[in-house]
């Protein structure tokens, strides 16, 4: 109950001991984690990366039926420029005067105009850094207009600077949706389960839903791509299953605490063995254990053909840049495919991943590990030493790897989860490794982006323990 009583979600650093900076062998992080919590570190040189605001906007634009008012300077809404999801949105475009005197009246007018032009079922007001500093009273405006317009209005308290971890923006959105749009009343228990995911693609999640249907389980995805009409059903689910570790935790805990939905937080179904384990665990928890075991045995040999297709590349070394739960599970998929994990990059690391971290560290204690969102300068430093055969990321720029002549694979539009995901990933890896012409060409020219002196320094040069 306590999570949703707060004004907004706690930052990840406080809620789950998450860290946003680390460079070193994976076993060092394991040791720190074992001794309590890994130390908070900062960078004394940094490169820009998305903040909670961009993550919040990216998630909000996927919610069907929701309109969005970004309360801030016009540029704060830029994350919405590149997508055309059909979400009606507007930005209050506060100017210098508003940044001093406050922009409440602009906010009121923006909400009314958006309401008049689109009549949306609900409106989210998204706070931005200037508004957070000025402490504009978004809550009062929301309360006032909620009544006047007869439309739910949801304040989303992103701020761009409280957390070093952008995924805090997902928690902030989940908090706002559950607190303001899901009524707290005795639930009419449904037969479906929730799949909790904020980052995975629609196709990826749909693949998992189909897999669950095979064993007779209906599912809803929350929060990515949720529909406002379905939010009450989310609270009535018989079970929530987290797909993305710390990223799913907030929704899982809030739904459990407030609506009594049991929460199952297990390793994501990446790779054949992990998918089988995931399917059986979810099946048992949902009362479909026998069907799940049968389905898992039916699919057990699905990856064999992919392994054969990759035989020519057996032992190829792969650098992986994925969110922590997916990255740890991906290491298992690589092993299944006969490939070698050469290095790992996680945007952040939270305590909830300790078991998975421990297992990987036990297997590969010297594995080079970077933690931090973005920061390609560190990756370039590490990659030019490691010289992997392939760089795999998801929705992150990898042009710096291409400049080094390393082929890259972006999983942003390729399903990662389930048996289908494993097959697709294997196929794409085989294609990427079979013709690295683009990387060869791009790596051929001089790269004068970073100073040679930086490339000879240790990768952790600019990562320091945070002084409180």
């Amino acid at each position: 109950m306590t999570l949703l009583r707060q004004r907004t979600a706690l930052i990840r650093e406080k809620r789950s001991r998450a860290i946003a900076a680390f460079c070193g062998p994976i076993d060092s992080l394991r040791q720190e984690a074992e001794q309590g919590s890994p130390a908070q570190r900062v960078r004394t040189f940094s490169q820009d990366h998305p903040s909670d605001l961009q993550r919040a906007l990216h998630l909000l634009q996927s919610i069907q039926g929701l309109a969005v008012v970004v309360h801030g300077p016009a540029g704060c809404a830029s994350a919405l420029h590149g997508v055309d999801s059909g979400t009606p949105w507007t930005v209050t475009a506060i100017d210098q005067r508003d940044s001093i005197m406050g922009g409440d009246s602009k906010l009121r007018r923006a909400i009314k105009e958006l309401h008049a032009s689109h009549r949306p079922p609900a409106i989210a007001i998204v706070a931005t850094p200037v508004v957070a500093i000025n402490n504009d009273d978004i809550e009062s405006v929301a309360a006032e207009l909620r009544e006047e317009l007869g439309t739910p209005i949801v304040p989303v308290f992103s701020d761009g600077f409280r957390s070093k971890i952008s995924a805090t923006g997902h928690d902030v959105v989940v908090h706002a949706l559950l607190k303001h749009l899901v009524p707290q009343r005795p639930r009419n228990l449904g037969t479906h389960i929730n799949l909790l995911g904020s980052s995975a693609s629609h196709e990826d999640l749909q693949g998992l839903q189909q897999l669950l249907e095979e064993i007779g389980i209906q599912s809803l995805v929350f929060p990515r791509g949720s529909s406002l009409n379905e939010l009450e059903r989310v609270a009535a689910a018989r079970l929530s299953v987290g797909l993305e570790g710390d990223d799913s935790d907030y929704a899982g805990q809030a739904l459990r605490d407030r609506h009594g939905v049991p929460f199952l937080d297990i390793a994501p179904p990446v790779g054949n063995a992990n998918t089988a384990h995931w399917l059986k665990t979810v099946g048992e928890a949902a009362g479909h254990g026998a069907q799940a075991a049968l389905a898992a045995s039916c699919h057990a040999h699905r990856l064999q053909r992919s392994v054969q297709a990759l035989a020519a590349f057996n032992g190829a070394r792969v650098f992986v840049n994925l969110p922590a739960p997916q990255a740890f599970a991906f290491a298992d998929l690589l092993a299944e495919l006969g490939l070698v994990l050469a290095g790992l990059k996680l945007p952040s690391y939270a305590g909830v991943g300790d078991a998975a971290l421990g297992q990987l560290a036990a297997r590969l204690p010297h594995l080079p590990l970077l933690v931090g969102e973005g920061q390609p300068f560190e990756e370039v430093n590490l990659l030019q030493r490691l010289r992997p055969d392939l760089y795999i990321g998801r929705g992150v720029s990898s042009s710096h790897a291409l400049r080094l002549g390393i082929p890259t694979l972006d999983l942003d539009r390729i399903p990662l989860h389930g048996y289908l995901g494993a097959e697709r990933v294997a196929r794409e890896i085989a294609r990427s490794l079979s013709n690295p012409a683009l990387a060869r060409f791009l790596g051929g020219g001089a790269d004068e982006h970073y100073k040679p002196s930086w490339l000879t320094r240790s990768t952790h040069w600019y990562v320091k323990q945070e002084v409180k």
Binding site: S46, D48, A74, E113, K164
Partner: protein
């Protein structure tokens, strides 16, 4: 006033895009996280490698100058560059960080650093380009040691085409360079392929500033006042041979070039375009090219395209929506430029809200919309053909194509013909499907 589906971003983003487009210039953002990362959404920024102080709560409360000092010191160690430009964003401006003091301190240590205050609340991205261009010209000489190799002499500075905001800006500038070469003139593009700090140093020695949108005026005025370089405010990007020729004529007058040389160059441009259009006509490609047309885009792009579509191709241009909200002083000239070739009744509006633009387009019900990806839904709803020739462009990313000059005009025409062909195909399929259903 709020902006539904804004397309113009903020001053910081415009300045960042400018700096990213200059080889050897390293932007250093003094900002919270995400201020440049947001640019990724349009897919034309290298922003994930932009140095930034990434201000945290501690700095917001206690001030971020120490963090900026640390970031400058380390950026010059990590990033290779000739010039480092600190761009201060909304948060340091609100909390009152003394950024100039940090720049001064860095300069005292002989780091080539300058600073530009471009908080997002000060204006949109076009204005950010305008401010940053002027400041760069102003501060560059004091920041650099004299060790930089002397630049090649240039004749004409090209100002006002905005990286990242004008579609195909790099190729467009190269087209203008080719155009001016017809008169034997050497262009100083300042941004894009092969343009570095030396180009900006050479700007002070040019003979003329050629201003291709209202956003180049601030820098041109500064160059005029401080280096005595005269400015030619052409006002938009020339598309087709008529405007390309007009540009050559005006440059010829401004630089007192031989009239016969200019006349011959104009004739060559006309002949080339006429040759291609006659051939296209013989192949039956130009039949019924008379659609009622709306053009939507920034000043340079929309005015140039509207003039070509109406003045050369004979399309019925009825609406022109200028989306970059140029200063009031520039607007009447832009309106006059459109009406000169498209007729006195053409409706020229200055709007940035996607919603307001959609309402206007619906009222006009054009058969062809030449605009950005943001107009696609409206075009679909109207059953109009839709060509993406303004930012944001999504369907067909621009890598080497341009919409400027004679070549750019042909590119635009190719896109219009392709879209007309696709629309006819869709209509045929629709008829077929309806017939089968019966």
């Amino acid at each position: 006033m709020s902006i539904p589906h804004d397309r113009n971003g903020c001053a910081l983003q415009g300045a960042t895009r400018l700096l990213e487009a200059i080889s050897g210039v390293v932007p250093v953002l003094h900002a919270n996280a995400g201020c440049s990362a947001a640019l990724d959404a349009q897919g034309d920024s290298r922003s994930n490698e932009i140095a930034s102080t990434v201000l945290q709560e501690k700095q917001v409360v206690f001030g971020g100058t120490a963090r900026l000092r640390e970031q400058i010191k380390n950026t010059v160690q990590v990033r290779a560059g000739d010039l480092y430009v600190v761009l201060s964003a909304c948060v340091p401006e609100v909390i009152g960080d003394d950024v100039p003091a940090m720049i001064k301190e860095a300069r005292e240590q002989r780091f080539p650093v300058i600073g530009v205050a471009v908080p997002g609340f000060r204006g949109h991205a076009w204005s950010g380009y305008s401010i940053a261009t002027r400041v760069l010209l102003e501060q560059l000489p004091g920041a650099l040691e004299t060790t930089t190799a002397p630049a090649d002499a240039v004749d004409v500075n090209l100002l006002g085409i905005v990286p990242g905001l004008d579609p195909g800006w790099d190729s467009d500038l190269q087209q203008i360079e080719v155009l001016l070469a017809e008169l034997g003139l050497r262009s100083n593009r300042l941004v894009g392929y092969g343009q570095g700090v030396a180009a900006w140093q050479a700007a002070a020695q040019a003979r003329l500033n050629l201003v291709l949108s209202p956003w180049g005026l601030e820098a041109a005025t500064w160059l005029q006042e401080h280096h005595g370089i005269p400015s030619l405010d052409f006002g938009w990007l020339p598309v087709g041979s008529l405007d390309s020729g007009l540009l050559l004529a005006q440059v010829g007058v401004a630089l007192a070039l031989d009239t016969e040389t200019v006349v011959r160059a104009r004739a060559r441009l006309d002949a080339r375009l006429r040759h291609v259009l006659r051939d296209a006509s013989a192949r039956g490609l130009l039949g019924n090219l008379n659609q009622r047309t709306s053009v939507v885009g920034g000043s340079a792009v929309a005015v140039g395209q509207a003039r070509f579509l109406a003045g050369t191709l004979g399309l019925q241009v009825e609406q022109v929506v200028i989306t970059d909200m140029p200063p009031e002083a520039s607007r009447s000239a832009l309106v006059a430029a459109v009406r000169e070739l498209a007729g006195p009744d053409v409706d020229v509006s200055f709007l940035t809200s996607r919603h307001a633009i959609a309402l206007l387009l619906r009222a006009g019900a054009p058969e062809l919309i030449v605009g950005s990806a943001l107009e696609e839904r409206t075009a679909l709803a109207l059953g109009a053909a839709h060509v993406e020739a303004a930012t944001p462009v999504r369907r067909r990313p621009l890598l080497g194509r341009s919409f400027a000059g004679v070549n750019g005009a042909l590119t635009l025409l190719e896109d219009i013909l392709a879209e007309r062909h696709a629309a006819a195909g869709r209509a045929a399929l629709h008829t077929l499907a309806t017939a089968s259903a019966c």
